[in-house]
Structure formats: C-alpha cells, structure tokens
C-alpha cells in the first residue's frame, strides 16, 4: 500500500515538473513532508543536499531517496516509476502526434515558435544554477576556465573530465 502511495505522490510531482524542474523541490516538500510526513525537515534538507551531490537527475535522485527512506529499495523503485511515468506517457503521446501531424504547417510553425521561449528557459535555468554555484571569485574563475577550455578546444575536452578537474581544484581551494 505504501508503495502505491509513493507511486501516486511522485506521479503528481512528475506531472507537475514542467519547464526545467524548478517546481520539483517545493512539490516534494509538500507531498513528502507536509502531506504524508515521510520525511522530517532535517531529512528533507539532507535530501536536497544528497540529490545534488550524487550523479544523475536531481528529481529522479530526490524520488529515489524519499522512496528509500520510506520503504527501502522497492520504495525507491516505486517513487522513480511514479516520477517518470508522466514523462513516458506525454513523450510517447507527443511522438505519436508528431508522427501524424508533424508535417502539418501549423505544427511546424508551433515547433519553431516555442524555440526562442525554450532558449529563454534554458538561459534562465543556467543563470539560476550559476547564482548558487558561483558564489565567490574562485568559483567564477573555475566556471570561466571551464567555459574557455570547451570553447577553445571546440569541445574536444571531455566535460566529465572538466567537472572532475573543477572538483579537485575545489579541494585545493576550499580545504
């Protein structure tokens, strides 16, 4: 029963995660802390930290962590399934619709019309991330260097390696 509840809660959260996922964190707090009492406030703060520290998408991580706290491994799987089910439904619907109507001219126009808005959302997401990640001069230097290396090397440098280098530099700077 608890697995079904997890599935349902994260289904709601997943369906509401539109436009880059700013909405996810407060929604998880609402469902997991306020409504169901699955996590205490401290555990929720821990969740935010761990979801960002561990590789993977933050929303999926947060679902997995909440599920694990509530019902172990099965809970994790149930929360992830709920969280990603809306994606599966909506994406396959979209794929179907585009296969059918993709060449209709107003759909073509619509696809082109949302591109600037999408660009705007991506830029906003990057700025939001940057505001917290680049909190001091050293972080600024690391961010600019990463950008410069990618730009100058025409992306020959592997980004995972650059993130790793940033981490090692961080250990030297912030120890």
């Amino acid at each position: 029963m608890i697995l079904l509840l997890l599935l349902k809660s994260f289904l709601i959260i997943g369906a509401g995660a539109l436009g880059g996922g700013y909405a996810i964190i407060p929604m998880i707090e609402h469902e997991a802390v306020a409504v169901h009492g699955w996590l205490t406030d401290t555990e929720f703060a821990e969740l935010i930290a761990i979801a960002q520290m561990v590789p993977g998408a933050i929303g999926v991580n947060a679902a997995a962590y909440t599920g694990f706290k509530v019902a172990g491994f099965a809970g994790s799987a149930a929360a992830i399934a709920g969280f990603t089910l809306p994606s599966i439904i909506f994406c396959f619907t979209l794929i179907r619709l585009l296969a059918k109507f993709g060449s209709v001219s107003w759909v073509e126009t619509l696809k082109k019309s949302i591109q600037p808005a999408v660009a705007g959302l991506i830029i906003a997401a990057v700025l939001t991330y940057g505001k917290t990640a680049v909190a001091d001069v050293w972080a600024g230097i690391l961010a600019v260097s990463t950008f410069a290396i990618l730009f100058v090397s025409k992306e020959k440098a592997h980004p995972v390696l650059l993130i790793l280098c940033g981490g090692i530099a961080g250990m030297l700077i912030y120890r």
């Binding site: 998408a57 949302i114 591109q115 808005a117 660009a119 990057v126 993130i163």
Partner: protein, 226 residues
Amino acid sequence: MTILQIFAAFFRVGALTLGGGLAIISILRHELTVKRAWIGEEEFAHNLAMATSVPGAMVVNFSLLCGHRLRGARGAAAAFLGTVLPSLIAIVAVAVFLSPYFSHPAAAAFLRGAAAAVAGLLTHTAFTVCRPMVAKAPHFAAAAIAAGLALVPTVNPVFALVLVGAVMFHLSNRQKVRAGGDGGIKNGINGDANGGINNDAIAANKICEGGDVRGGADNINDEGKR
C-alpha cells in the same frame, strides 16, 4: 548503434555527471552529437525544445525522445533505463553505505569546485545550443522576455513558455498571411492536437486578454476554443 550501445551511452553519462538534468543533457550532447554524430545539432535542439515543453523531468523526456529517434520504442526504453538506473544505484549506495562521507569537508570542497565547473559547462551549452534558436532579433527578444519571466520566483516557467510561445506563434502566422501564404492560419484553426500545449495556450491567452502583449493574441485564443 545497437540497443545495448544506446543504453551504455546514456548509463555512462548518467552515472558520471554531477550537476543535475541540464548538466546530463550537456554531456549527452558531447557524447551523442559532438563525438558520435548519432544525433545532429538541429535534431538535438529540436528534442531539447520538445523535452522542455512536455510535462515531466526534462532529462527523462529528453532521453525518451532521443532514444526513440535512434531506435524506436526499444531505443527509448534503453535510453530511459540508462538515465534512471544510475540515480537508483547511486542513491541506494549513498543511503546504505556512504552517507558518513558526505559530511566530510573534503567532499564539500570537491562538490563546490565541481559545481563551479558545471556552471561553466552549462553556460557553454546554453551558448552553443541556444544561439541558432535566437539568431534573429525578434527571437532574441522573445528569449530574453521568456528568461526574464522565468527568473521571477513567483512566475511558473510554464507560463513563460506558453506566453512567449503563443505570441511567437501568432506573429509568425500573421507574417505568413502578409506574405500571401494562407496555410498557417487555416490549418491552425482546426487544431486540437498537441493537447497539453493547446490547453495551456487557452489559459495563457486569457491572461493576454487582460491587456498584455500588444493585444494581439485574440486570434490564437479563438483557435484554442474551437
């Protein structure tokens, strides 16, 4: 590429990437578009736009769409599992074994540095992916308005997406009519496909009626109601 190769590519990226969904998408771009040429730049931008405008976590949507593009439904399943499984494994590992290490100052210092590098990476992705989307001045202005709206904490980014998307849709239809083409509007009127987006368009346009944005959205509003 085989199904297994698709899974392996997405799994590796998911397992190695700190910094969340957009960072994963940046690295997927490196792996799929720059290194392997599985997906072209334009296709990548198109999939990213679709992934952003559909409900659900952006990176999950993106994996499903890219995987489907590569190898149909099975490709989508492989890409999906490759994206989601690393999270499950990592979180369970952390919850069971590793949580004491996370409070170590060295780990915090590492993550601070890594986050700064991720900020540089994301800027680079935004720069390369968004540049073609905003090449023309009106598109640039529209992107700036959408970004500005999305940055206001009380504004839901969906609102920015729908509002700016609807205005651009209206403007490009009007342009077509002026240019003598009649396809845009005619076809636009019978539209209820793309359900979610259209329903949202009704909501957004109601707000437009409240005296915003050059009073121009009425046309789309009618389309939405039919």
